[in-house]
């Protein structure tokens, strides 16, 4: 690899004219990008194609033969009550976690950047959960959610509101997991919004002031909010794709229960694929999971396009 690269100097300086230089540049590019391209196909794009192909077969892990069954796995999936419950749980989780993480993150970013004191401390405090090992923290939350000893019920009882065994109650379990998800997601959305706020040109505020928009609310409505559009779309997309990937907390805290109330797509895929070894059926679940993630991105891209057309 080094030989090719070493052959380049001198020639490259004249590359605009020299044909040999252009050819050497192309060769160097392929050599430099080659390992990445190869690994990308083996570890990422190839498997993604393979999972789609596998979802149309009847293969179970370790079987010597493989048969094409077309949409058989999907038919089985759509006829399965558990799948619909799983899908509903996943969507409820996403619908609960995404708006709250995004708006708490936005509020935190605005408030932190609105003043100068303790900025570093607040940023670090809100971001710390992002860097923590979710799995270890899940066990802390399990303790905090403990029906009688847990800090959460103690606080709620202190305020005088009704308490329950949040993780064992089928009506609340998915929301209890959602609280952990929000706790972890807020920091990332905050940091991304801070980045978005920094990208707002100062002149716009001055221009708005000239136009008579002086107060904080007016400034926010007329400058900050519209300028945050791209950041907002980005944050929503990232948070939503990550929410669709919820797995750790389910796996260690509820095991999909009680009564399948926290069975989510990825957990279902894990169980079918790696506990029951039904590889093809799990592949079909993976395709559905990927479909949702791609759908979110597609919507984001469309919205972004519309924004640039009108903006």
């Amino acid at each position: 690899m080094a030989d090719v690269a070493m052959a380049l100097p001198g020639i490259a300086a004249r590359r605009a004219k020299g044909r040999a230089g252009a050819r050497a540049e192309i060769l160097a590019a392929w050599v430099l990008a080659g390992p990445a391209i190869t690994l990308m196909w083996i570890m990422l794009l190839g498997p993604a194609v393979a999972v789609l192909a596998l979802s149309f077969t009847d293969w179970t892990f370790g079987m010597p033969t493989i048969g094409w069954i077309g949409l058989g796995n999907y038919q089985e999936m759509f006829a399965d009550e558990v799948f619909w419950k799983t899908l509903k749980n996943t969507l409820v989780y996403v619908a609960f976690v995404v708006p709250l993480s995004v708006f708490i993150g936005l509020g935190a970013a605005l408030l932190i950047e609105a003043g100068s004191s303790l900025r570093g401390f607040y940023r670090a405090a809100f971001f710390l959960p992002v860097t923590s090992t979710l799995l270890a923290m899940a066990l802390v939350f399990q303790f905090a959610f403990h029906p009688s000893l847990g800090a959460i019920n103690r606080v709620i009882a202190f305020v005088g509101l009704p308490t329950t065994d949040w993780l064992k109650n089928p009506d609340t379990a998915i929301f209890a997991l959602g609280v952990i998800g929000i706790w972890q997601a807020v920091g990332l959305s905050m940091v991304l919004f801070i980045a978005g706020l920094k990208a707002v040109p100062k002149e716009l505020y001055e221009a708005a002031a000239v136009d008579g928009a002086d107060g904080a609310v007016e400034r926010f409505r007329r400058v900050t909010w519209p300028m945050l559009g791209p950041a907002m779309l980005f944050v929503v997309t990232i948070t939503a794709t990550r929410a669709f990937q919820v797995f750790d907390t389910v796996s260690v805290l509820t095991d999909g229960g009680p009564n399948k109330a926290t069975n989510v797509l990825l957990f279902q895929m894990y169980q079918e694929g790696f506990s029951f070894l039904r590889s093809a059926y799990a592949a079909a679940l993976t395709v559905v999971f990927l479909g949702f993630v791609l759908l979110i991105t597609l919507v984001q891209v469309k919205l972004q396009e519309r924004r640039t057309h009108y903006g």
């Binding site: 192309i26 990445a36 570890m43 979710l134 802390v140 796996s251 993976t286």
Partner: protein
């Protein structure tokens, strides 16, 4: 948030800001405080109806020594360093040259490769789990460090991030290096990487955080206890202790969370700046 910007209003807003952010920070930090607090207490105090932040009887030594002796916790943490370190080094070696080729060289296929990178960004890594499991099983690689490390050696996110950064490097710098007789390979490592240090640090911390905390893939490929990464280690610990022994469990959780949290707090300024600088572009 009044529209008036008079002095009393400003003080009022400062109070409002600190009250809300303070409450928020308290909630964000509470789990960490709870974890450390419980890790210092004997079980009698953990299950007592009244909660105190600091233990009446210190049980820190007992809990932490139990955490490190009942399960090979030090081994799990060492595994965490081995795995995350190897992954990051591989990611850099693979991603930087590719990012340079995408940002600064002219070649046919560049657009296609970049499109592949963008496509790769859209695919969550869990999607590849079943085919990769089968692949590693065929090659007899299951239950090994290689099984954890190999899928992460390629980071399309890293390629993307570095490419964006390299685009901002002036071409004159590269041409000057070429005139000095540097090859393309040397340019990547001796010119481009040093200029990209902030992006490399931001990427490094994100890579470290993601891979240290990764649970899904190691859970699938690792069976042997001595290969367990930190999150798997906590689960082994939790299962072995049947979840009732909160003191040692929280000590284990603290020990496994600590390296990253300490690293983050030490690199905080660079890191948050690095992320905010590179994230939205």
């Amino acid at each position: 948030m009044r529209t008036k910007t008079l002095e009393p209003g400003r003080i009022g807003f400062a109070l409002f800001r600190h009250a809300l952010l303070g409450l928020g920070a308290l909630i964000m930090l509470a789990p960490f405080v709870l974890m450390i607090s419980v890790s210092l207490k004997p079980s009698g105090e953990i299950f007592s109806p009244e909660f105190t932040l600091l233990p009446k009887v210190w049980h820190a030594w007992e809990n932490y020594s139990a955490a490190f002796t009942k399960q090979p916790l030090a081994r799990f943490i060492l595994n965490g360093f081995i795995v995350t370190g190897s992954i990051f080094v591989c990611q850099l070696i693979v991603a930087l040259p590719c990012a340079y080729a995408l940002a600064k060289l002219r070649w046919r296929g560049k657009e296609t490769v970049f499109l592949m990178v963008l496509l790769g960004l859209l695919i969550p890594h869990q999607v590849t789990a079943i085919p990769l499991y089968i692949l590693f099983w065929k090659f007899g690689l299951l239950d090994s460090y290689a099984a954890i490390i190999l899928p992460s050696t390629i980071s399309v996110f890293g390629i993307f991030l570095m490419r964006q950064f390299f685009l901002t490097v002036p071409d004159d710098l590269i041409n000057a290096a070429r005139l000095d007789g540097l090859g393309e390979f040397a340019i990547v490592w001796r010119i481009m990487m040093p200029t990209a240090v902030p992006a490399v640090i931001a990427f490094g911390v994100l890579s470290l955080v993601w891979n240290w905390n990764e649970f899904f893939w190691p859970l699938i490929v690792i069976q042997s206890e001595h290969l367990a990464t930190p999150p798997l280690g906590v689960v082994f610990f939790n299962n072995a202790e049947a979840g009732t022994n909160y003191g040692p469990l929280m000590a284990a959780a603290t020990a496994i969370t600590a390296p990253l949290v300490i690293a983050f707090l030490a690199a905080q300024r660079w890191f948050i700046d690095g992320v905010t600088m590179t994230a939205v572009k």
